[in-house]
């Protein structure tokens, strides 16, 4: 029996996975272990699978994913800090048949951009918002975010987040779910193969809602790690996320087809 070489294995019929053409070849600027890359890939895979490569306009935020437009191979606009939902509103209102999404972190969406987030949701803009929540400001070096957990140490809460003076973590996803303008609201993760599959299903649903012109905005939160900001190794950060973030930010659908999910 002849020896099997690598060349015998690398054949089209053996391909089980390949990178979507809607991710560029540019090296990701994210830290090894971070969930951003996976989230980018899922969105771009969905756009490709839905056949919307030429009809999609994405809006990048300010934060770690400020350079998202370097990696996502569709038409992109870079918004000012927090303003992506207003920018996306402008795009969608004048091109109602295009697919429009924003990609935002917790500082961008839940602190400086809270107003734009709430009002885009309240108007029921027919767009998709992808919200990456890692409980910290990654790009600027690990400062406290609106979603930082109580007691969590960051460079601007060096003794831990004191809720009496710094407030409680903002569950903005539960908040927007209360607005009649949101049609689909869910919270997912991308740290395990199982979580990735569920997140992909949610992202697909969000975009399908938009394409079908369902009445309202689709909002997908992805709770993610920030191993650099949390000062942990990647695997340890994922374990910490499961043990600390998930009890506060429960995974699962919050609103489906315009109806709040009953969580008895």
């Amino acid at each position: 029996m002849a020896e099997i070489t690598l060349q015998d294995i690398i054949k089209p019929e053996n391909v089980v996975y390949k990178k979507t053409k809607l991710m560029t070849d540019k090296t990701l600027s994210y830290c090894p272990g971070c969930g951003h890359g996976t989230a980018h890939r899922l969105i771009m895979e969905i756009i490709e699978e839905l056949g919307k490569e030429h009809e999609t306009i994405g809006v990048a935020p300010v934060g770690c994913s400020v350079l998202a437009y370097e990696f996502m191979n569709v038409d992109m606009q870079e918004a000012a800090h927090g303003r992506a939902p207003a920018v996306a509103t402008g795009i969608k209102r004048v091109w109602p048949d295009r697919v429009v999404f924003t990609y935002q972190g917790d500082g961008d969406l839940a602190a400086i951009g809270t107003n734009e987030t709430i009002h885009a949701c309240n108007r029921g803009e027919n767009i998709v918002i992808i919200f990456i929540n890692n409980g910290i400001y990654g790009m600027t070096g690990g400062q406290m975010a609106p979603t930082t957990l109580p007691g969590m140490r960051t460079s601007t809460s060096p003794y831990g987040r004191e809720v009496s003076s710094m407030g409680n973590p903002l569950k903005i996803t539960e908040l927007v779910a209360q607005l009649p303008g949101t049609y689909f609201v869910t919270r997912q993760a991308v740290h395990t193969p199982s979580a990735v599959r569920k997140a992909k299903r949610s992202i697909r649903k969000a975009f399908e809602n938009q394409i079908a012109k369902k009445p309202g905005l689709s909002f997908v939160e992805i709770v993610s790690n920030c191993n650099s900001g949390w000062k942990m190794e990647p695997v340890a950060s994922n374990i910490w996320m499961e043990e600390n973030m998930f009890p506060y930010y429960n995974l699962g659908d919050i609103k489906v087809d315009g109806q709040l999910v009953d969580k008895k």
């Binding site: 402008g90 795009i91 091109w95 295009r98």
Partner: protein, 361 residues
């Protein structure tokens, strides 16, 4: 002859936006310009032309909606008054950086801060020197009548797309609120989506088949690339300075003195000139129509002709006067006169200032 109507300046502006083929207006109410969004909502332009009108949650959201929609190649406009325009400066800077065309209208009121709701011209510095951060310029048009509130709208859109740059129309509470006869221009059709795609290959409205994606951003982390981008912007501004200066002169041929005034102050100063000429004082009016690029060559021409002095008449503590001084450079007298904080000077006060500060001073 176009359709004649008696309209407020703000209404004429709003009607002109519909007729100019604007694709969208995003705005937030503020006195003394709320008639713009009120008129547009009442007119149902989505039925007349397909134009989108949306009342945003803030001026910050308005300008960022312009960023998004303007970035797709559509004709977009917003309007506000001084405090609201201050809130928009971030977005205007980003649009200048990302080279997104749009029209912004400031119906100026008294300041600083919340100020009042009376007419003023105290936002000149903010308008022409760059109200936001970074090295950028806006093309700034200053209407001085209800007619020009209408006529300058299509001109502003043309300039915005010609230079891929925000264009600012600086009016004031007087021009915005007063009613005058206006001859409306005939409606121009909105561009179709196909025409927008064809004309503006930079616009992000969906990656064309077989071509590279488009990116609109004001960010470049490589300082050398950002410097190069700034060189490109500066070259564009030089071309605008070369080609887009607009002004009007009245009674300047034999003038020994020149009043320089724009907007409402130019209207008031026209009366001053009449009063002065009745007394035998040879004074003319230079009315800058573009506040940037500024009519520097015209000022220079007057200096070379040997005029004895310039009086800058502004409803501010003296802002445009600095640009006149930069050109004159000490060769003849340059003074400022103006009431401010929402107070309007009378033609007689301007004449008195001319006599005291320029002729007798």
């Amino acid at each position: 002859m176009g359709e004649l109507r008696l309209m407020k300046g703000n209404e004429a502006l709003a009607e002109a936006a519909i007729r100019a083929g604007a694709d969208a207006y995003f705005g937030y109410p503020i006195t003394p310009q709320s008639e713009v969004v009120e008129y547009l909502m009442a007119e149902r332009p989505e039925q007349r032309t397909g134009m989108v009108v949306l009342q945003a949650e803030s001026e910050i959201a308005s300008i960022n909606m312009l960023y998004g929609a303007g970035g797709t190649g559509k004709k977009v406009m917003t309007s506000s008054s001084s405090p609201g325009i201050s809130l928009m400066q971030e977005g205007i800077s980003y649009m200048a950086g990302a080279e997104i065309p749009c029209v912004v209208v400031n119906v100026v009121r008294g300041g600083p801060g919340l100020g009042d709701i009376q007419p003023a011209q105290s936002d000149y510095f903010q308008s022409v020197k760059g109200g936001g951060h970074g090295d950028y310029r806006l093309i700034v048009l200053a209407p001085s009548s209800v007619q020009e509130m209408s006529d300058f709208v299509p001109m502003a859109f043309d300039l915005a797309f010609k230079y891929r740059n925000p264009v600012l129309i600086v009016s004031d509470g007087l021009i915005g609120q007063m009613m005058e006869k206006v001859e409306l221009f005939d409606p121009m059709p909105r561009l179709t989506d196909e025409e927008v795609i064809e004309r503006y290959p930079w616009a992000t409205n969906g990656k064309p088949v077989g071509k590279e994606r488009r990116i609109l951003t004001s960010l470049d982390l490589d300082p050398h690339k950002l410097e190069k981008h700034n060189h490109h912007l500066q070259e564009k501004y030089r071309q605008a300075e070369e080609n887009e200066v607009r002004f009007e002169t009245i009674d300047c041929d034999d003038a020994e003195y020149i009043i320089v005034a724009y907007g409402s102050s130019a209207r008031i100063s026209q009366k001053t000139i009449q009063l002065a000429r009745e007394e035998g004082i040879k004074v003319g009016l230079l009315r800058p129509i573009t506040l940037w690029p500024y009519p520097k060559k015209e000022i220079e021409r007057f200096v070379e002709k040997g005029v004895k002095g310039f009086l800058s008449v502004e409803m501010s503590a003296g802002q445009m006067v600095e640009d006149i001084k930069l050109v004159v450079n000490g060769r003849t007298k340059v003074e400022h006169f103006g009431r401010y904080g929402g107070v309007i000077h009378s033609p007689e006060e301007v004449l008195e200032a001319l006599k005291q500060k320029i002729i007798g001073g």
